[in-house]
Symmetry: C2
Subunit: 215 residues, 2 copies
């Protein structure tokens, strides 16, 4: 399938384009060119056209794209034309921050349960969502038809949590623990490394320093 070869950077930019399209749609804009999208998000017009070309023909030459049509097309490509039910494992600082994160709900993600092994936390609610004991993981995932799990536990516990998730109907795992995890192929696993974001910053800072040095 063609879509399997889409670079991850393209998917990330599609996500950015869709937010920008939602923004201009709210301002009443109905038609937009690749150049306007490019200006709005800070990439080249050629990049916008190349990214969209992966998914077939959009827009009309000389007229541009219909904002709502393009928005919904991208939302569908990203798999966001449906609500995803998410459980968060770990009610520590990171799990708590993630359960409060406004950006998830905006994009169709619904947190339906939080899990922790600390008895003092069980029964409390974060942003309206109950904290359950780990023993109820499978039961709650099935009751709430959760399809995505976010792992926000210490690194040493992350594989144990992944092993428990494999026994449930979870389809995708987003792992924030700085540890490589093993899961069977039928589960989609994505690791988030928070350091990488700092390294993308220091790469650019190093480039700036070298440019100064070269002058």
């Amino acid at each position: 399938m063609k879509t399997l070869k889409i670079p991850e950077a393209t998917i990330t930019r599609l996500s950015v384009y869709s937010r920008y399209l939602a923004h201009v749609d709210r301002r009443g804009v109905t038609t937009i060119s690749s150049g306007e999208i490019a200006d709005g998000v800070g990439v080249s017009p050629a990049q916008v056209r190349k990214d969209l070309a992966y998914f077939g023909e959009f827009g009309t030459r000389g007229v541009g794209y219909n904002v709502k049509d393009l928005y919904w097309h991208i939302i569908k490509i990203l798999g966001l034309n449906t609500t995803w039910s998410v459980v968060i494992i770990g009610a520590g600082n990171l799990g708590t921050a993630l359960s409060m994160y406004g950006g998830f709900r905006e994009r169709g993600f619904k947190v339906v349960g939080i899990f922790d092994n600390d008895p003092h936390k069980i029964g409390y609610r974060l942003n309206g969502v109950e904290i359950y004991p780990m023993e109820r993981l499978k039961e709650i995932i099935e009751r709430e038809k959760a399809n995505i799990a976010i792992i926000a536990v210490p690194a040493d516990h992350a594989q144990d949590v992944a092993n428990l998730l494999v026994e449930t109907s979870i389809q995708g795992i987003l792992n924030f623990a700085p540890r490589a995890l093993n899961v069977p192929d039928h589960i989609e696993l994505r690791n988030v490394d928070l350091s990488v974001n700092l390294e993308l910053l220091t790469f650019n800072l190093a480039v700036r320093r070298n440019m100064k040095g070269a002058r």
Copy 2:
């Protein structure tokens, strides 16, 4: 400068390669092929060679790369051959989680101060690092020679914090608040959108669903 055109995905993969090289170096491996790196991190050998080719000639045909040399070369490209001093603005759940995050120190990032406007938090320490009042931002950044600031405050306060940072010697800002920020060109700004990680997961889950549907 050639390095300015490097795709972000390449930088991200360099970060991944360097971690893998550190791992095999600890196991006593001295020479490695692009195929072995590719296997170790789950990309194609051609991708490894293409990524490294951006930065000139490495390795010897038929022999491979010297593990330590390649590791240090990548570390230098990423700007990590120096210690970066980091301040975190916001001692809420996310700021606390980031200040505890083990992955930063491993890669040469040193958190030197945390800032909050809640008087009850001032003077406490997170992972050994003091929480200061916002009024001391400029003073502490200059005393500690901090070059990077992480914004972990609610979206409505993020631009105000950025405005304060612009008045200091900070060179780079990593913004976790879900809000676009304006800073002058001499400051390197990077926004982290935690939802994008979930969307890269749902994109792949949608592809899997479509493949099943197509069978």
